[in-house]
Amino acid sequence: MVVARTDAAVSAATLAVHHDSSDGAVLELAGPWQSQHGLAEPSGLLDELRSRAIRHVAFDARQITAWDSGLVTFVLRVLREAAQLGIDADRAGLPEGVQRLVALAEAVPERQTGRSDARPPWLARIGASTIATARASSEGLAFLGESLLAFGAFLRGRARFRGSDLLVVIQDCGPRALGIVTLISFLIGLILAFVGAVQLQQFGASIFVANLVAIAMTREIGCIMTAIVMSGRTGAAFAAQLGTMNTNQEIDALATLGISPMEFLVLPRMLALIAMMPLLTVYADLVGILGGAVVGIGMLGLGPMQYLEQTRDAVHASDFLIGIAKSVVFGVIVALAGCLRGMQSGRSASAVGLAATSAVVTSIVLLIVLDGMFAVILNVLGF
C-alpha cells in the first residue's frame, strides 16, 4: 500500500507556492500535468493568494515533465481569477507552448450571447406554446390550401412534375406495401373471428362470425388498418425524404428554378396515395375475410360455401363503398401529414427524425378523429 501511494505521489502533478517577497508569490508546478492523472483544483491556491494580499504572481514550470490541455485550463483559471483580484501575473515561466495556447484562447473575447438555461415562467411557457400551436395550425391550413391549388393545376393539366416520379411513388406505396397489408389484415380478420366465435358459440349462432368479420372489415377495419400501416410505412418515409431534401437545399433549388415544390414533390405523393389507398383497402377487406374464413371453416366447422353465402348476404355494396370512400380521405391525410412535416422540417439529422415522428403522430390522430366523425355522420344519415 505504502509503495503504491509513493508511486501515485511521484506520478501526480504537484503545485507549491513559494513566497519570494512580502507581496509576491511563485507557483512551482512539477510532475506530469496531464488530465489523465487528475488535476489540482485552483480554488485553495486562490484563497491563499487572497488571504496573503499577494500583488504579483509568477510561474515556475521547469519541473513539469509532461502537459496537456489540463495545464492550460488550470493556468487560464488562475489568470482569470488573478485578473479579477487585481493580481499582476507574469507568464514568462510557463512552457512556451502553454503561453502560446493561452494567448490564442484569449485572442477572441468571449461572445456574450445572453443564453441561459433558466426556464421561463409558466405563464410565458403557456403563451409561447399557444402561439406555436396557432402558428402551426395556420401553417397546416396554408399547406392544405397550397396542395389544393396544386391539385387544381393538375386537373387543368398545368402541374409541373415528372411522370416517372409519380410511377416510382405509386410502386412504392402500392405493390411494395402488399406484403405488410396482407399480414396485418389476415391476422386482424383471424382475431375478429376468434373473438366473435367465443361469444357467438354460446348462443349456437357461430355462423354469424361471417357477418361480424365481413361487416367490420369492409366498413371499418380494412380502411383504418391500411391507413395506419401506410402512415407508418409511407407517411414517415415522405417526411424523412422531404426533410432530407430540405436539409440539402434541394427544395430551395426547385424554388429558385420557379418550379413549385408543391407540384413537383407533394402532388405526385398525394396522387399516388389517393390512387393506391382504395385498391389496398379492397385487397385488405378480402384478405381479412379470408382470415375470418380460416377460423370459421377450420375451428367452427362451417362449410366453405356456407361461409361464403353468409358473407355475401351480410355485406351490402354500401358497406364496401363507405370503406372505399373513407380510404380516399385517409390517403389524402397520410400524404398531407407526411409532406407537411417533411417540408416544415429543420435542417439537421435530428430535425428530420422529429419530422418523421410528427408525421406519423399527426396522421394517426387525424385518422382516428375523422373515422369517428364518419361513424357519427353515417349513423345520422342512416347508412
Binding site: L39, S69, T73, L76, E96, A105, P109, S348
Partner: protein, 246 residues
C-alpha cells in the same frame, strides 16, 4: 486504394514525420479523401497498410485499432457535428467517454478548446444555429478534444472566405507549434499549401499514383514532373507552353 475492382491509387509509399504539417494534394477525384479515410481507419485499403510509430494499423486487432484511433483527431469537411447536441456537448462527448475527469473539468476543457478556435461563448449553440465557417472550427475543436498526437483535416479551407481560410491556416500552424502535434491536411488550395506545408505528397488522378513527394515550394520550382509544376503554378506553365506553340 480501390472501390470494388476500380483502382483509384496504387503504389503509395510515404513517411510523415512527427511535428510536421503534411499536405495531401491533387486534383478533384484523385483520391485525396479516400487516402485520408484509409489513414484514419475508416476504410481498409485494398492492399497495403498504414503504420503509426512502427505499429501496423490494419494488421492490428480491433482493440489496438481503437486505441490508435484515439490518438488521432479528425476534422471533417463540413464539420460533421452531431446535430442533436450543442457545440459544448459535441466537444465534450469524447472527454466524457474516454476520460474519467469530473464534469466541471470537462466543461473547462471544452471551453478552452472552443476558445482556441475562436468560439468562446458559443457553448450552448446547436450546430444548426451557427455559420459554416464556425461549424468547421467547432469540428476542429472536437478533433482536438482528446489532445491527439496527429490531427487530420479534410479540405479545411473549402467553402470559406479568404480571411477565414487564412485564419484557419494560422490556427493549424499555431496548434502544431504549441501542442507539438502532427498535422495532416488534405487540400488543393494553393495559398494554403504554400503557407502551411512542410512536406507533401501529390496524387495524380491520371497515372493513379503519387507523382511527387517533398516540400511544395521546392516541387513548384524544381519538380521534373510537368503535371506537378502546372498544378502548383495554377496552370501557368500549361498556358505558357500553349502560347509558345501558337
Amino acid at each position: 486504394m480501390a472501390y470494388g475492382s476500380y483502382v483509384i491509387q496504387r503504389d503509395l509509399d510515404f513517411v510523415i514525420r512527427r511535428g510536421e504539417v503534411f499536405v495531401i494534394m491533387g486534383g478533384s477525384g484523385s483520391g485525396k479523401s479516400t487516402l485520408l479515410n484509409h489513414m484514419v481507419g475508416l476504410k481498409q485499403p485494398a492492399r497495403g497498410d498504414v503504420v503509426y510509430d512502427g505499429e501496423s494499423f490494419w494488421g492490428s486487432p480491433p482493440e489496438t485499432q481503437d486505441e490508435l484511433r484515439r490518438r488521432l483527431g479528425v476534422s471533417f469537411q463540413a464539420g460533421a457535428l452531431w446535430s442533436s447536441m450543442t457545440l459544448a456537448e459535441n466537444v465534450g462527448l469524447p472527454l466524457q467517454t474516454f476520460t474519467r475527469l469530473p464534469a466541471r473539468q470537462i466543461s473547462e476543457i471544452v471551453s478552452l478548446k472552443l476558445a482556441l478556435v475562436g468560439l468562446a461563448g458559443y457553448e450552448e449553440f446547436y450546430p444548426s444555429e451557427v455559420s459554416g465557417g464556425m461549424l468547421k472550427r467547432a469540428g476542429v475543436a472536437r478533433a482536438m478534444a482528446l489532445d491527439p498526437d496527429i490531427l487530420f483535416f479534410d479540405e479545411p479551407s473549402a467553402g470559406l472566405d479568404p480571411i477565414s481560410s487564412r485564419r484557419l491556416d494560422d490556427l493549424i500552424l499555431e496548434l502544431r507549434d504549441s501542442l507539438g502535434a502532427t498535422m495532416v491536411v488534405v487540400t488543393h488550395e494553393l495559398p494554403s499549401i504554400f503557407t502551411i506545408a512542410d512536406n507533401s505528397v501529390f496524387l495524380d488522378g491520371e497515372t493513379r499514383t503519387m507523382i511527387a513527394y517533398g516540400n511544395p515550394k521546392t516541387l513548384r520550382d524544381e519538380s521534373p514532373n510537368p503535371t506537378v509544376r502546372t498544378f502548383l503554378r495554377r496552370g501557368a506553365v500549361d498556358a505558357a507552353a500553349r502560347g509558345a506553340a501558337v
